[in-house]
Symmetry: C2
Subunit: 387 residues, 2 copies
């Protein structure tokens, strides 16, 4: 029961790159179109996931700009924004467009160019995804939000510093195997735990994801025509999106995000599968604790058990449920608008059996989990190999 | 053959308003939900049309924020941006979501809060909808773009200063009849032609649309359930979107916009009607010349005849094809993200026969035309009364 099918994927490296926003978008789109064997003229719609190009690169109306640059003449081009989940929301609009019967082949691009600005300015722009008046102006930016969640998780469940560190170490191990990853560097639990670069207690620099440039793209089509384009078709069988309380203090429980649980339950329901059938997942590890919470909200582990699971190695490649085989936001990088589509890129690569030395053996079903703000938005997609 | 149906509409006044972005959004959404008789719990998705809230009000991730504020707990909330066409693109995503069968009732809100900033800053933000490097940095902002188009139209077709003025005078006449309009003020052709407030030759202040705050909203549902909610159902029977050259200099002809012609042909095709069957239209009169070009691109008048038609009164209420009965961007106002949904609001009001002393008698089919940038984006929708 596929909602839509992925027939082409493409991605740039993630990192602090010389290339412009448009160059990155063109590169990712060109690779995806080539991978799919689809010409620009055959594309019925473009969706662009982008968070804040108007501030990062002083340019708005970017979907039209990218359409023009990629050579999609006349093609409807729409930018979609949902903070750090922008990319996944773009994928979801493509699914709607295809399931509506009004589009057959849709190009989805996620792109962000962030490293042109200084870190303080990037932090200011990112903080606009949370409530400026009630949160940011009182001093609460995202590291603070996830620091609060971490402290509560530790208090409530006994989660430890070492368990958090295990998430970072594992994602760096995975990222070392991904040629597209931003920070390909081995780190140890000792490195993380002994760091004096505190960001928002207890989270230090090793617990935080990266500021990156990058673009990823997918060609998505109606399930019934997918096999006309390639043999290794990957179907999107589940899609769930939810909003949650916009401000972190409105959450009943700081150790779980209602939007993630709701988006996951919707995705599982549309797919007709449960967490036990997922072979691997890309989750939104903007901070190490976010990954632990995600693996619990998605039903892979019981509430409070995500930290222990990470330290035991259950989330490594070869473990019970490999998480962030790409390296995640922590090592692969986090170009905001691109992240959700980069997650889908990794899922498709794994399901095609093309993930090289980070391949999850026998992977048949993969899941992506993409968060916006402090859970104001969450989107979950489930991908399945058809062949 | 309805794509989707409108069962509720709501709008704030447009103008320089005391209310905040969230207050405006809540007001418009609340009115639309009440008009439809739909509770927030029955909404399956929210689409928010917004251009640049991150700069206008220092707040991004606005769809989630609005969902939380309106009480749409857990509802998928997605912001859509396509410059000045953002509102219409949001409507289009709602159509896709409904036609996909994955959503039954969708709330669409368009909102922008612009008057908090000084005009020079607003102009800078608006200019980000065109190419910063190749256009804006060389001195070409939007008044300049439409000034170029105007000069060419005058050169090629003999369009006159008086004909341009007739557009402004007519839209102010219509706006006087609209209690929600921003600038309700009678002006004369003499006022316009004698103005010394030149903006971009030959366009003076009277040729330009307004900088406004405002929000409009619609409840859109699957056609088969619309009559469960109300008797006066208005169906969306046509929807067309197109991208065009991102930079104005890439247009083969400065007197016409390819995206508008393409979007219109797609909308006419899905609706199965032609321009001769349209009873009235709301078009994107960001500048007087933009309305003239729109009425030609939409097929209401032959190329070059739009100016004469306006001066002859053919586009007035009571004329051959009433254009911008709401007052248009020129008099009603132009809160960017809201504009496309405000156009739909007027179309539904007219088709329900609720437009009071600006009612187009016997109106059965109406059209909206919403432009982004200098034609980088255009969306056209066709509405039809069912009852």
């Amino acid at each position: 029961m596929a909602l839509a099918s992925v027939i082409g994927i493409g991605s740039t490296c993630y990192g602090a790159l010389e290339k412009s926003f448009i160059e990155l978008s063109k590169e990712a789109a060109g690779k995806a179109l080539e991978d799919a064997g689809v010409r620009p003229d055959d594309i019925d719609a473009l969706y662009l996931g982008n968070f804040a190009g108007d501030q990062f690169i002083d340019q708005n109306h970017l979907a039209s700009y990218v359409a023009s640059a990629v050579g999609l003449n006349g093609v409807p081009a729409t930018r979609v924004e949902g903070a750090c989940a922008s990319g996944s929301l773009a994928i979801r609009q493509a699914i709607f467009a295809i399931k509506s019967g009004m589009c057959k082949r849709v190009l989805v691009i996620g792109a962000e160019k962030m490293t042109t600005l200084k870190t303080a300015e990037v932090t200011r722009i990112l903080a606009q995804a949370s409530n400026q008046k009630l949160e940011v102006n009182t001093g609460l930016t995202f590291p603070g939000v996830f620091g609060l969640m971490t402290n509560r998780h530790m208090y409530q469940y006994g989660t430890t510093r070492e368990q958090l560190a295990a998430v970072a170490v594992k994602n760096h191990e995975h990222g070392l195997l991904n040629p597209l990853a931003h920070m390909r560097k081995k780190i140890t639990i000792e490195d993380v735990c002994s760091s004096t670069n505190m960001v928002a207690e207890p989270l230090n620099r090793y617990d935080c994801s990266l500021i990156s440039d990058g673009a990823s793209a997918m060609v998505i089509c109606a399930p019934e025509i997918a096999s006309d384009y390639r043999n290794e078709v990957v179907d999107i069988i589940g899609s769930g999106q939810a909003s949650g309380p916009f401000e972190i203090f409105l959450n009943e429980d700081l150790t779980s995000l209602s939007s993630a649980k709701l988006a996951a339950s919707r995705a599982y329901e549309t797919a007709g599968v449960g967490p036990e059938e997922i072979d691997f997942a890309e989750v939104h590890d903007c901070f190490t604790m976010a990954e632990i919470v995600a693996t619990e909200d998605l039903g892979f582990f019981e509430p409070g058990q995500g930290g222990a699971a990470a330290l035991e190695g259950l989330t490594k490649i070869g473990g019970k449920i490999p998480i962030n085989t790409s390296g995640g936001l922590k090592s692969k990088g986090h170009p905001i608008g691109s992240t959700g589509i980069g997650q889908g890129y990794e899922a498709v690569l794994q399901l095609r059996g093309q993930a090289g030395n980070r391949q999850v053996e026998g992977a048949k079903i993969g899941l992506t989990h993409n968060l916006g703000g402090s859970g104001g938005t969450c989107a979950v997609h489930i991908y399945k190999r058809r062949f």
